[in-house]
Amino acid sequence: MIAVGDVFTEGFLTALVAGGLLAGIPLLLAALGETISERAGVLNIGLEGMMLMGAYVGFSGALYSGYTWVGFGAGAGAGIFVALFMVGLCVRLGLDQIVVGIALTLGAEGLTSLLHGAVLTERPRLGAVELVTIPGLSEIPVLGRSVFSQHLVVYLTIGGVIAVWWLFRSTTFGLSLKAAGDKPAALDAAGVSVYRTRGYAVLATGSLAGLGGAYLAIVGAGTFEPFMTNGAGFIAIILAMLARGRPFWVVAGSLLIGMSLQLQTALQVARIDIPIDVVNMLPFLAVIVVLLLFGRRAYLPAALGLPYVRGAR
């Protein structure tokens, strides 16, 4: 019999929190992006593809330039590049968002795998990234070192969450986003371009998802592997839907799922053996149970997934 106190040792908690942050940050970035585009009425199934492109291009950028920051910039740029397809085809031309989204995800999966096989034949790796340690807070016992010693991108991400919250809550553009998702015709009548509003939203999604992918490759793994996002994009979509447009819920959800993804490692530290398959499906199982219990309250923007065609009824 194992006592609870034996499990929650310092090593266990550190592994759990540090690992949860490491796995949670890419999810958080992508889900934050998806929150923006969903609010504007664009269901972005291509999120996984944007993350993968961000991971590949971001890793290559960091590898060839030698600067981590170039990598992050390149990753965000790659995400925006994929998002441009979505803007052109779905927002501007009004094509089916789901078909285009699947196409982008499949295309990016295949393309990055081919590029990996053709270009990264030496299987290169990046060295450890430099972390920014916050003086004082990192001295807190147990959690200090794991929470307050992170790459600068992590702190910027937290800043980004607050910025999105403020954007939604107190700006005209935030209001336009909501209108584009709930009643685009009204936004158009008010003289604001639906195409432009949705377009910016999708580009923001692309940059955040690309950044998330780049973090996964540069900080998380230190290398690029084909299919390395392993469904993270889809988890992020689910998170964004459950958070219903509230950025701080996205944070909570991402960290929770990040931690449960890391539970395996943490439990090994605590010498408890739970099959990895059980751990892997816990987040999804939790979400399904939540949906079954509270499914009635699920709210999505009224015009989510519907293309806006000016003048059409």
């Binding site: 397809f85 995800t105 499949l106 795998s113 053709a118 999804f284 399904i288 499914g295």
Partner: protein, 378 residues
């Protein structure tokens, strides 16, 4: 370049009224995206420093002309056809079942785990039929939760079916490592193996198992049900306009549950064909991921269960031949994903252009249209 020009002039020809024009229109809309995707794929291959001609040649050799290439392609087509049949049933009702991989894998694993004991206890033929039905039942059961959530709470089924796939893959692995594990086999956990002579019978004179026949029959049945029965009409009404369906007095909730279950059943059948016909066992972490690559074909065939057959045949050849081509080109075998993604993109664009034309708005500028008309001899 010449392909694009050919497509455009064919589209202009299709603008002429009449049967021939309609046929040409359908052909362009179905074949055009595939041709464009192959051209774009060739550009990508060239950019990667591989010879596209050699690559496509290797695909044809591996999937058609080489030794057992054609037979292997037909064998690969069996599960893909059944998945396509399953997708048509839900897509017609405008329901997105994207949980294909979870339904497929779980059905496959349970069939593989039960196959040997059941086959020992019962006559071979009866056991195979029961296993086939079991696979269908498992596939159907795995759609219950997303179907219920969609039907009663209106929860987006795209997301829930994708999540059920993640759960299904893990549950399948748990089965392989737990109750179905065959400890006498290798280090990698796997189920016990159904001996070759007790699997699905081959067609006389070939290595092709009987699954392909079942798949073709299933497609004909689906086509008949969708076009000639009231159930098919109800699904079509639901797909065209859910509100109208309610006003017609259709039981929308039951329709959603039933179409989801039928879809899962057919996908379970696909797993039965692959396990009972080809593998005989499942190893941990095995996932052929057939799901999303079948989706575009179903759309290219305009949700027509008969028209999907040639597209699946093409995919099967690409899939089997792609293995050889990728090996010779020293690339990972993921070119197929790029190709399928490109087909989807070009399909969406072709669709848009076609719709524009139907609305009477041309997507060409006036001058360009005039010059094309002159060239087309009008």
């Amino acid at each position: 370049m010449s392909d694009t020009a050919a497509t455009e002039s064919a589209e202009l020809a299709a603008a002429r009224p009449g049967r021939l024009g309609a046929l040409a229109d359908t052909l362009v809309r179905s074949v055009g995206p595939v041709v464009l995707a192959l051209v774009a794929g060739a550009v990508i291959l060239a950019a990667l420093g591989r010879n596209p001609g050699t690559f496509y040649g290797d695909i044809v050799e591996g999937g058609l002309t080489r030794g057992n290439g054609l037979q292997e392609s037909i064998i690969r087509a069996a599960p893909l056809l059944l998945i396509a049949a399953g997708l048509i049933v839900v897509f017609r009702a405008n329901i997105w079942n994207l949980g294909i991989d979870g339904q497929f894998l779980l059905a496959g694993v349970i069939v593989a785990g039960v196959a040997s004991p059941l086959d020992d206890a019962l006559p071979n033929g009866l056991a195979l039929v029961l296993l086939w039905l079991l696979a269908g039942a498992v596939g159907a059961v795995w759609t219950l939760v997303p179907a219920f959530l969609r039907a009663y709470y209106g929860v987006n089924e795209i997301i829930t079916t994708l999540m059920m796939t993640f759960i299904g893959i893990n549950v399948a692995n748990l089965f392989i490592k737990g109750p179905f594990r065959d400890f006498e086999s290798t280090n990698v956990p796997q189920t016990s193996v159904l001996p070759v002579e007790r699997r699905l019978p081959d067609l006389p004179g070939t290595r092709i198992h009987a699954g392909i026949v079942v798949a073709l029959v299933a497609l004909v049945v689906v086509h008949y049900v969708m076009t000639r029965t009231s159930f098919g009409l109800r699904l079509n009404v639901l797909g065209a306009n859910p509100r109208a369906a309610v006003h017609f007095g259709l039981s929308v909730k039951r329709l959603i549950m039933v179409s989801f279950a039928v879809s899962g059943m057919l996908i379970g059948f696909a797993a039965a064909a692959e396990i009972l016909g080809v593998w005989g066992y499942v190893r941990a972490d095995w996932d052929p991921a057939f799901g999303l690559i079948v989706v575009p074909l179903v759309f290219l065939a305009r949700l027509n269960a008969i028209a999907v057959i040639p597209f699946v045949a093409l995919l099967a050849v690409l899939s089997i031949g792609g293995d050889l081509a990728a090996r010779r080109a020293e690339l990972p075998n993921d070119f197929l994903l790029v190709l399928v993604g490109l087909i989807l993109l070009f399909m969406a664009i072709t669709e848009y252009l076609g719709r524009k034309r139907e609305l009477g708005q041309s997507y060409l500028t006036e001058g360009l249209r005039q010059s094309l008309r002159r060239r087309a001899g009008r």
